[in-house]
């Protein structure tokens, strides 16, 4: 196990050391001490490392993550796990806005609340939030699953493509073209699997499912005459 202390090392040095693991995977376990809300901690990881961040992190923590499992023992700023490709990111505290934005894969678990625009333009990432999420979450979401145990802000799933959204709490309002959908057996099993992966002990039957009405994202041929 290797410890990097950000009260003495720079974030650039930290990320360089993590990226060096491309060449020779000699060290899988990393501890990052005194993150002090710094931005860009552990971004662009490309190997199956285990990274333990011991405190609050700033913007874009674990951004573009591939294969690594990252745990943050605190809150994170804007854009945690943005554009994640694979692997996992677990946030023990709250996340600011745009958590998991544009993520292609992997699992993001937030134990506290997530701010506005959680999962904006998500493209395959799975996001599980134990608390509440803010407004415009899953906006333009193309693929992946968003699970929320708490309540959501306004305009959930606005202009949604094919993201599956599961919410246990209250939905403040649905965005354009987002509708509630029937919870069929395949959805219950999909959700059960996600909850289990995220280490959450909840009954899938307590959730409601939301998805795209698919009226918005294809050109409506009846409108062709207008051109």
């Amino acid at each position: 196990m290797k410890t990097i202390d950000l009260s003495t090392a720079s974030v650039r040095e930290l990320n360089q050391a993590l990226h060096e693991q491309h060449k020779q995977l000699t060290e899988r376990d990393w501890v990052i001490a005194h993150p002090a809300g710094k931005h860009n901690i552990a971004v662009g990881i490309d190997e199956p490392l285990k990274i333990d961040i011991q405190g609050h992190a700033g913007y874009y923590c674990a951004g573009m993550n591939k294969k690594a499992d990252v745990v943050v023992h605190g809150n994170v700023g804007v854009g945690v796990a943005e554009n994640m490709m694979s692997g996992s990111v677990l946030v023990k505290g709250n996340a600011s806005q745009s958590a998991g934005a544009t993520g292609h894969g992997g699992l993001l678990v937030i134990e506290g609340d997530a701010g506005a625009r959680c999962g904006i333009s998500m493209k395959g990432i799975d996001i599980v939030v134990k608390g509440n999420i803010g407004h415009m979450s899953a906006f333009l979401g193309q693929a992946g699953r968003l699970v929320v145990l708490g309540d959501t802000g306004e305009n959930l799933g606005d202009s949604l493509y094919e993201v599956h959204i599961y919410v246990k709490g209250k939905v403040k309002s649905l965005g354009s073209d987002c509708i509630e959908k029937e919870m069929r057996p395949e959805h219950l099993s999909e959700l059960a699997e996600l909850l289990q992966k995220a280490g959450v002990d909840e009954d899938p039957k307590a959730f409601r499912r939301y998805g795209s009405a698919r009226n918005l994202y294809n050109f409506h041929v009846d409108n062709a005459a207008a051109y």
Partner: protein, 299 residues
Amino acid sequence: MCGIVGLYLKNKALEPRLGELFEPMLLSMTDRGPDSAGFAIYGDEVPEGAIKLTLQTEDAAFDWKGLVEKLEKKLGEKIDWFQNATAAVFKTKATEAAVRAAIAELAPDVHVMSVGRSIEILKGIGLPKDITERFTLKKMKGSHIIGHTRMATESAVTMEGSHPFSTGADLCLVHNGSLSNHYRIRQDLEREGIVFETENDSEVAAGYLTWRLKKGDTLAAALDGALKDLDGFFTFAIGTRDGFAVIRDPIACKPAVLAETDDYVAMASEYRAFTTLPGIENAKVWEPDPATLYVWERH
């Protein structure tokens, strides 16, 4: 961009250390706003019936003593005063209107930064470090303080365009964001008699609050009106005689984070500003909701 920070002490025992606790918070936001900086500190309150004015001039060699003597003669009231670098604090029993009129006549280049019983606004252009050192923030005492580091987008980098902006007696505003309808609102407010010193959009927000409060609105009602009437991006921190308030626009693009312990409430654009505060490891840390007013005041 810009950085905003605030610190409100619940524990009076920390009051002698307010400046020392706040300085690293402001400096940590230097990369969000290296153009200019400022702060509004509350403390050293004058008794009821008296007022305290913070004045500033670009002229480092300005003769404050001479101005005090002329003012005392003109106003027929004694002025307690001290100088702090390019600023001076005057305490007097004369009325605000009389003092303002006399200063405008005797020393037109002197800017009135703030008026109230507790507030002192100090600001200027340059790196935040230059400003905190110029005014020796580290040694200042008080109950609460808000500050700003500016990266100008909407108007010129000048001392007058720096934050905080005064919005009335013991009230001030710092702003992170940009307003898109400030030109029109400025015209409306000018018709209502509000006077602006700069082309700055944040000054319009301050003027808007001044106008609403003058009409008799509570701070909460004035801020509720701001949510409806101001178009654009904003996180505001508002200093009041007894505490401070935080509000974000409904879109909430501009960041804000809050931290609370038994000893204090702190707000900042980013968590990085909190790392030097005592007991921050165990503080409650969260992001304020959009279009929601948060207020901490002593009663």
